[in-house]
Each structure stands twice: as structure tokens, then as C-alpha cells.
Symmetry: D2
Subunit: 369 residues, 4 copies
Amino acid sequence: MAGSSFGTIFKITTWGESHGKGLGVVVDGCPAGLPLCEEDIQKFLNRRKPGQSKYTTPRKEDDAIEILSGVFEGKTTGTPISMVVFNENQRSKDYSDIASYYRPGHADYTFDMKYGFRDYRGGGRSSGRETIGRVAAGAIAVKILNQLGITFTTYTKSIGPVNIKEENFDAAQISENPLYMPDAEAAENALAYLDACMAELNSSGGVVECVIKGVPVGIGDPVFEKLNANLAKAVMSIGAVKGFEIGDGFDVAKATGKNNNDAFRMRPDGSVTKATNHAGGISGGMSDGSNILLRATIKPTPSIASVQQTVNKSGEEIDVSIRGRHDPIIVPRAVVVVESMAAIAIVDAMFANMSARMDSIEKFYCNES
Amino acid sequence: MAGSSFGTIFKITTWGESHGKGLGVVVDGCPAGLPLCEEDIQKFLNRRKPGQSKYTTPRKEDDAIEILSGVFEGKTTGTPISMVVFNENQRSKDYSDIASYYRPGHADYTFDMKYGFRDYRGGGRSSGRETIGRVAAGAIAVKILNQLGITFTTYTKSIGPVNIKEENFDAAQISENPLYMPDAEAAENALAYLDACMAELNSSGGVVECVIKGVPVGIGDPVFEKLNANLAKAVMSIGAVKGFEIGDGFDVAKATGKNNNDAFRMRPDGSVTKATNHAGGISGGMSDGSNILLRATIKPTPSIASVQQTVNKSGEEIDVSIRGRHDPIIVPRAVVVVESMAAIAIVDAMFANMSARMDSIEKFYCNES
Amino acid sequence: MAGSSFGTIFKITTWGESHGKGLGVVVDGCPAGLPLCEEDIQKFLNRRKPGQSKYTTPRKEDDAIEILSGVFEGKTTGTPISMVVFNENQRSKDYSDIASYYRPGHADYTFDMKYGFRDYRGGGRSSGRETIGRVAAGAIAVKILNQLGITFTTYTKSIGPVNIKEENFDAAQISENPLYMPDAEAAENALAYLDACMAELNSSGGVVECVIKGVPVGIGDPVFEKLNANLAKAVMSIGAVKGFEIGDGFDVAKATGKNNNDAFRMRPDGSVTKATNHAGGISGGMSDGSNILLRATIKPTPSIASVQQTVNKSGEEIDVSIRGRHDPIIVPRAVVVVESMAAIAIVDAMFANMSARMDSIEKFYCNES
Amino acid sequence: MAGSSFGTIFKITTWGESHGKGLGVVVDGCPAGLPLCEEDIQKFLNRRKPGQSKYTTPRKEDDAIEILSGVFEGKTTGTPISMVVFNENQRSKDYSDIASYYRPGHADYTFDMKYGFRDYRGGGRSSGRETIGRVAAGAIAVKILNQLGITFTTYTKSIGPVNIKEENFDAAQISENPLYMPDAEAAENALAYLDACMAELNSSGGVVECVIKGVPVGIGDPVFEKLNANLAKAVMSIGAVKGFEIGDGFDVAKATGKNNNDAFRMRPDGSVTKATNHAGGISGGMSDGSNILLRATIKPTPSIASVQQTVNKSGEEIDVSIRGRHDPIIVPRAVVVVESMAAIAIVDAMFANMSARMDSIEKFYCNES
């Protein structure tokens, strides 16, 4: 079935394979009148670009975005925005051997079983390059939200055993280290840990955290279209994500009502706030005005140079070691992907929310003059 | 926006409020020819029924299901199956006081902000009774899957600090204790913990685990309609769920590629299997033939009798204690809800998968005779 | 597949069979704060109620609507509105004979082929009673639109050879004759024609026309979600409709650009208008501010008492005559169904339109105070 | 709202403007294993290509399709197929004058009102070039259907006053004249009529007819997803289409039950057929095994060189004559667009139909071995 679209009112459709002609996305339902240029998109894509340090793949990729439609005289027109990154570095021969067997931790086997065969070049559609479309669309979603006063802070929270410390948290640090960690000391420790992983031909997992400020109260729809449910789908659809939580997340299992409930309080300006934010900014599936706080856990890079057991397409058990240059950690490059998917889900929910009340609708259509 | 439907091909639409006339669901896209009667549904609803022990609310509720359409001569007809539970026990007066303030941990505030007012009787649409429609639909989804050789084992994995132990795991125990725990000793300890919570006018969180056997390889669609993404949305849409994981879940953050990758192996019968199942039965968003393993973390019951701080609709800070009889734990009643939502997501994905390959489609339409 | 839902933001889901327990609809995505009571719905249902004249079936049906959810203290709450009409008059025995053969012009054969069997009682899901859910939902859609200054005039335009005459058009006449014709003389002639049909155990087709005033400019989305495309789907999904047109419709095939183009003109108040309205109020898939004009052609009632040729389930060719009391004309009862479906499509398009422009969105979310 | 996607399981998303960088489509949900190359698509695009005769625009357009993804080693992979036609002939200066006023019969005014401004170059998104994406996707849909034994015959049925005659019908003629008429004599008369139109700086409307053979019984879903409803939406979403009918269409308004009902009959081979096909191959919203017969009426080209009245953006009434080279008739180029949209709707319905029956599902998943 069609599985490459996400969103209802603000809808994105991605396409492309790792070593095909290119990868892209069509963003449909973007409102007219948003100033937009390729540089807005490129800044986001650069956050996922490899080659910046020895901890990310040294492959040279330009990943230059082209906007093909939907923008006129510097502004979005309300029609679909088609964007593409053409692949320049198609070294198909490097991948010819993996055509014959199933790499552990990869989707080779399930693709073959579902479709009868697969584009085996560089992982094809299940490559990490599939996220190019997500991030290009996410750049637009974040820009829309920024114009509405909503901001994102997204970063690596942990790598292997190394966690950021709350007391060291410094958002300015995020762009100062190749791991996107808001804690310089943790980043240093994590880099040492990754060095050890690489020495052992191994890789590491980690956690991405995203904090979203300024979402108005009431975004998200009760029952199945809860904001947390759509954020969960958005983020769990990213390859390598194995867990998702909102607010205190898995810790609530050990909490009690007394220490998990957030007391409502009044601000001096007469608005309502919460004394704490265990809920992570979402109550009953709707934003409650506090910061939205979500986390995604990312598995270790499956492509490792160590010898592993697997089977080939002839049904033989074999030993393999995945050649090529692979990141020992996916987490830093996933940071912008998590932010992008969260932003897309929130934009869609905010547009849907505009028809929640009859009085707003009447004001929209009748009180214009 | 319409937020009360879930699924694309197998689609459910729920409706109803805690203290309205009733609650129900329309199941559309159920295939024709499935034997179905009210008893099939009632068995599932009874698993979420309160009043079975002192740990669940002693309110008397019959929750008798009625099938209003879509079944003829004992079989589904392919047309929508409308099911309803009429509310018999509408004690609206008990809830008149909560109309004026926002209960901590509840959706009162967000409902009021989004819609301008709310049906405050018993939580209205955000009550736990909203799950009646999910479970009634889930009963059908599980029955369909059972006919295809797929089975569910769902249970309470932990309550507060009490976890089940792997060495004690006994599926037969699940229905033998009011907490649906597959470990008699853990259940006893958890009951003691809950007694302590109740004595302190407090409540506890916990974790539900669901193991699904027999899903064929290749179910789920790459990119946004990954099986894990839809399971995440399905389960995170259940009120009180704050975290979701597949397989090793959050533990993968600390894992390495060497110990997280599952080696492929050959079975004696020539089929492919995996030596381990860290992936939880899903690779690249598609089922891989191993057991699907998912977990949901459930927050402590927000309605507690302890005094709590909050605000009222006049903008005054007040102290409240939630009267009425409330479960000190939601987890046991959530077990069947998690199973239901997982089943609905899987049925939908299996139906979508039928058109994945041209050769299957040709066989379906051309080789019938 | 799920085929019983319509709409994206304002979504309806209907269910029920002619001789099952009842028929109903869930309306999801209705904004909060709309005053609504059962009488609002009943007025609409009464417009499709039989038994008002000898030209409609003399069966006694009360078709009393019950609202089961989504309304609190006289207003919609933003949660799904579930409505039901319980069947009181289930004379299944009358229909036992038709179980064995396929009535010409009915869906008996296609239902059996698709699903393997069918609920044969009174046509089951393909009965005209299926429109109860559409009309109940339509009553809400029309009420929303009325509050936004949009009004409907829907009527029978022709029956067999008898057309209304433009010079006789009198909207007040619509409710004065059993055929809902806005032309007293045409109604009289049509009644005479129907008498002749009945005498010959025959039935007649006709045309319904719907004029919608006050839709603001720009409703509908370019390309696939054009307003005319969704109106076409909405109306063509009504059983017995075989053709649909907007504005001059099929006549444009013989027109030329010179006489089909509508010249734009200025109104004294500085607003734009059109000198003519060949386009029927929709240009490029979006409303253009002129009246929206649509027509649906309805086939003759297929249930006729004349002897007809058909086949039975044993594969034998047989002669049948459909017993029971059937309208010789569907058209008058379809008038309110066409209006309902058009209204549902327009409400959905108006809600979708609210996020078309960035400046409107900013105003909605940022300039509230 | 997102309005550029069509279909549920087989889903297409188009993008692009007349004078932007290009136009394209993403086809998602195409089954794996379909042999596909650019020539398959190009053949279809060539059927809508202008420049073939004096009756179509003499602009030179290559409209060469490129497949960017979703095909590997000559077969579809099950992942999205992205296709693009880059615009080579962007003469923006020709269109600078039309930026200031609203062309009669075009979407200039509604675009400006909805979005605040528009890409005025060559009609932007509302240009006839928007159909490139539809036709490229339609080529795939038709290829899938051909493999399932389903074939299309689509042609111009009438132009202005000139109708094809049943007795002259010759399918081989369709590709022998520039008007795609299956009647050489009618084509000659129509060409003479168009010459007269052109001499008067005028244009003509007409009718496209599509006959689809071989669709199995039972395709389409009752109620809102009726096959005729989706065909109606698919075809009415094509710019310039003002009316749609199935089978006898608008003629049924004047028919009676006796002459409109199709009698069921037995074929010698024991299968069921119909003595006539007034229904146009669809009963109760499902295909009935007879040929599906649909017609779309197309308005005259709105761009005419005659002087017309309109208004400009400053609110002044002005006279304009549309310069540039425009077809005096859209109909012949719309033939392949109608076929494409019909094919897309049918493919989607056929995939949806695969889960209609429990026994088919069990066979699909359990009897594989």
C-alpha cells in the first residue's frame, strides 16, 4: 500500500533510493505566502549531512536541494512544493556483493520477502538517505511554526552509557560538537566511547530529545488523533527508532499519582500554568501550554565491520563483515530528522484545530470585513 | 478535526461519553464471512470490566454489547458493524462539582481550552470508558487474526516497582489474578504494593507487554506506514500511555551493534529465522517472522483522593481531593485495550499488504478458476 | 474496504441495513458550540419520509432520530455525534422470496458476487433506507452552513418528460406539492404522468437540481480536491444517481468559448461578479462567488410490479414481478439526500480552506488577544 | 489543504506549474514486479502532446518523461515511482500581461482570492499541463489493468454539434485522425466545424467516452466508495469537465423502469450476464461484469482571441483578447486524461477489493504452501 505519505492537511510524500537518480519529497497543503528559498531547506539538510567528523561517514555528499515547484517570487503559492536532491555519488559496484545475502539488523530480508526482490544498492529505499525527504519537508514545517512563535530545541541526550547532565545543559553547545550534545563534557566522554566502539569494529545506540516551546493549548484531537499519538507515529516511522516517550515516559511506570500529577497554577497575568511538567506538555492528547517534551531511542548502526552470522539467498548460513564506511552512531544525524517529523505532525494538528469551534469558524468567514 | 477513526482498510470509528446515552463503535472494512456474535465481543469487554476485585472500581457496570448491523445469519456481511453499550448507571450529580475546576492529570483544562466547554460528567469523552469502542473493535480484529493463525499474549509486566520475573513466566497465570500478571509471585507483591498505595490515597503506574505470534513476514509498509509506526500510534492513542517500545526498546540506547543485531539462521525446514529477537519482530518497518514484542507504559491513575492543588474556571487556585471510587491502577484494565489496538493495526496492515506484489494480484484475479 | 465514511475534516460514517436493528451515522469533526437538538435532524429526515402521498410508499415508518453522543447542554461538544433510527417495522418474511434470485436494476447480484452472500431483507445495505445516515448528517452540515450565511434551494427539476419551466419557478411551491417541484403546473403534469406509470406497473426517472447561495470565493482545492470533484463523488455515491453536472453541464459540449465564458464585471460596491454563470459557481475547482448550481439524474425505481426476466442463484432463467409497495419515482425523496451530500462536501471544503494562507493562520493563532 | 493526491492504496501525488521547472507525479502503492520503462509512460504522454495538427497548439513541447525512482532492473520495486517532465520552453515574458487581469473562464480570479496571489505564468498550476502527472500515472495504472485482462477504449464522442454515429463506429479510426474520433466521417465534419470556430476566433466543447472491458464483478465498495462515485471524482477533477455520466446517464431521467432495468440472463457457459447494459457496467456501486461505460463533457477552450469583457486587479472593467496559440478544442487531448483517471480509480478499487472476503484472505495468507 501507499506508505510514503504522512499528514492529512499538511501532507508530505517522499520518494527515492540511496543509489537511484535522486531522493525527494512533495509537500502538499503548505499555506500560500510563506517566504521560502532553497537556502531555508539546505540549512536543515546540512544538519544531517555526513562527512563533518570522523564519527560520521566520510563519504562526500553534497545533497544540494532543488525546489521544482510551489514557490513563486520567493513565496509559497499554496500548490505542492516538489523538492529533489540528485544523487551524484552512485558507486553501485560497492554494493553488488550484498545483493546475495541478508545483512543482520537491516531490512534486506523483509524487503525480499514482501516484494519478491529489492533494490540492493546501498539499502535502496531503506537507506538512511530516505530521510532527506523528511528533513526537506521538516524545514518548511519548522519555518511555519517559527512564524507562529513556536521553537524547537533538539539534541542528543545520550550515547551508549553517556548521558547529558541537567546541570551542564547548554543549548548553545548543541552546534559546537559533532554529536549535537548540549553538554560539552558529555560530548567529550561520548566521543571517547565512540572511539572505543570503532576500535572494536562496533557501533552504539543513543537517545534524541526534542523540546518544543510555544505550542498553543488545545492542539491535537481526542481519541485516535491525539498529538502524542501522531508524534509517536511520526518519530517511530524513522528507521532505527525503537522507542518513544512523552514527558516522564517510561518512568511513569514507577511513579505514583501524587508525584506524577501536575498541579495547575495561576500566572500573575491570569493565565493557567502547571507547577510541574511530568505530562510533557500534552494532556488528554492535546497540548496543554507547557513545553512539549519527547524522546526517541535509536538503535546502534547495524552496519559493522565485525564478523557476523547470517544467511544468503541460497539458504546457506554464512559469515559476513559489512565493508564500506559507516557511522558508528546514527544518533547525531537523527537529531534533525526527529525534529522534522515532530514539526510536520504539529503543523498538521494546528491546521486541523482551526475548525474545532463554531465561533472561530464564524469569525474566520463572517467577520472578515 | 475528525479524530475518532483509526485504520485505512479496516477502519474503526468510536463515539460516546462516560455519562451520555452510551458508547459505541462502527467497524468498517471487516471482510464478509467471519462468524461473529455478541458473545465474541462480550468476552473481550469483560476483560476491561471493573468490579472484579478491590483493585478495580467497585461501580457496577454491565457493559452489555449490542450488535446493530453488519452481521446476518451469524456471519459478517462486509458492511459496517455498528456496536453499542448503553450506559445504565448515569449518576450525573456525582460529577457536578468537577465542572468548576480542572482535575490535575486529566484533560479537563485542554478540553475547555480547545472547545470552549466540555461534557464534564465523568470525564465525558476522555473517560476510560472511551475504550469500550476500541475493545469491541479489537475483539473482531483478534478473531480475524486468530483465523489466520496469529495469537496474542498480553499482560501486566510491571506495577510500580514490581516486575514479573522471566523465570516465573506462566501465561496460564494471566487470567488467574486480578492484575493480569503471568507471574503469581509478582502479582502477590504488586497487590501488596497497591494496598499500600490505597492506604496513602495514592495510585500507581505500570507497564503492559504484548507478544504476537504468527504474523507472516512482510507486513507493514516502508517509510511512514511501518508496522511499528502504526502500532506506536495505535497504542499511544490510548489515554494514560506515555511511552511505547518495540523489542529491546529503550535498552538499545545502551546497546552496541554487536549485541543488538539479530543473526539470521536457517531452520531445518529450510526457512529463515533469527538467532535472537532484539528487533522485536519488526525490521525496516515490516514484520520479520519472529514474535512481535511491544510494551506500553501507563501512568498512575490521576484521580486520587489525596489533596491536590489546582485552579478553577474563575482563575482561583484551590485545593481539591477527587471523590468517588477510582482504581488505584489503570494497568490491568489497559491490557485488553493494548491488545485490541495492536490487533486493529495489524489487521489493517495485513489487508494493505495483499496488493504488494503483481504476481499475487494476478493470482488473485486471474487464476481463480 | 471501508466504504462507509465520507469527508476528511468533517467526516461522516454511516451504517445499517433496511431490515436490521436500525440505521445510523457518526458525524466526527463537527465543531463545538453549534446549537443542536433532535428536532433539527428530524425536520430533515421528514423530507425523505415516505407515506405522504400515493406517489411514495404507503409503508408507515416513523424514522425517529435519537442523538446518542456529542451534544451536551444543547450544543455540540466537538466530539463525535452518533445518531440512530431504530427500525420498528421489520417484516422480514415479505422478503424471503427475493433471497433466491437477482432483481433487475438492484445490487443483489453484485453483493453476492463480492461478498459471497447478502442480507437480502429489503435490500439490506443497498436499500434506500441507507440514506437515513446521510440525511441526518446533512442536517448538521446545512445548519453549520446556514450559520455562515449559506443557503440551499433543492428541488425536482424534471420527472420523465415533464420539466419545470423557468418562467413558473416559485421556490415557495417546493414544499407545496409531494414531488418537491418549484412549479405548480409542472407538478400537476408530473403527477398525471406518474399515474400513468403506475397504471402500467412502471416507474419513472428524473432530475434533482440544487442551488447554493453564499459560498465565499475560494472554497475547494485545486487538482484532485476540486469542489466540483467532491460534489460529484458525494452526489454520485447516492444510489440510483447516473449522472452529475455543474452549471451548464452537458450543454457545454455544444457551446462555444464565446457563449460559455462568463465575463467578470464590477459591482457598484467594488466587488467582482460575473455577468453570467455558465460555470455554475465553480472555476478551477474553487467556488467563484456566484451561486453553485448542480444537477443529478436519478434512474427510475427498479422495483416494478411488471413481469421481468432474471436469473436465480441456481443459474436458472426465470420471470419475476417485484411485489410489495414501491414508489413509482425516487426523485422527490432524493431531493433532501442530494442537498445533504452537497452540504457535507462543502462544509469539509470550507474547513480545509482555513489553512490556505499563511496570513490567515497567523491571524488565527497570533492575533487573538 | 493537500489537494494533489488521489487514491488510497494506489495513490498518486502530482505537482508542478506550466512554466515552472517541471511537472511530475509520485505513484505510491504500485505493486512490485511490474515491468516498467520510460517508453511505457512516454507513449501515453504522446497521446496528450500538442503540435500534431493545426487543431492543437503548435507550441513545440517534448514532454520527455524521466523515471527517478521505484524501478530497478526493469521492474517496479513496490516503492514510490517518481516521474518528472522538465519544462524546456519557459517563455515567461509572453504571460506577463495576464498577471494584471482575470481571464474569463480561467481560474485566475479564484486562485488570487484563495491564496492572495498566483503564479500567473501560463496558468501556473491550473494549466492543462497539470495533466502530465495524471497521464504518467495513468500509464502505469493501465499497464497493471492490461496485465489483469482489462482494456480501455477511449475516444472523442462529439465535438460541438458533431456526434459519432453508432453505425460508423470503428475503434481503429481513433488513432487515425487528430480528433481521436472512432468515425472517419464525423471526424471530417468536426474538423470543418473547428475550422469555422477558428475563423471566428472561437472554440468548441465536446464529449469524451470511455469503454472499459474485463473488470471482474464486485469491484467498488458500497455507499461512499462506489466505483461510479470514485470514477466521477476522478474525471470531474480534470479541469474543463462539467458533467459526468455512467451508462445511459442523463437519459435515464426520461426512461422508465421497464426500459431501464437490465434483465439478467445465463450464458451458455453458466455465467451470469445482462441482456442490456443501461447501467453502464455498475450496479449498486460495484462492477457487474458488463462493460463499464462513462462519459465526460468538456467545456470549450476558454482562451479565445475574440474580444471579451473582464476586470483587472485594480477593479477596472476592461476588454481583453487572449493572445498566444491555443487549441480551439480541448477534447482530443483530454481523451487520454479521462482514460488515465478512470484507470487509477479502478486499480485502487481492485486493490481494496482483495480483502472483501474472509475466505479469500485465508487463502491468500494460509494456503500459500
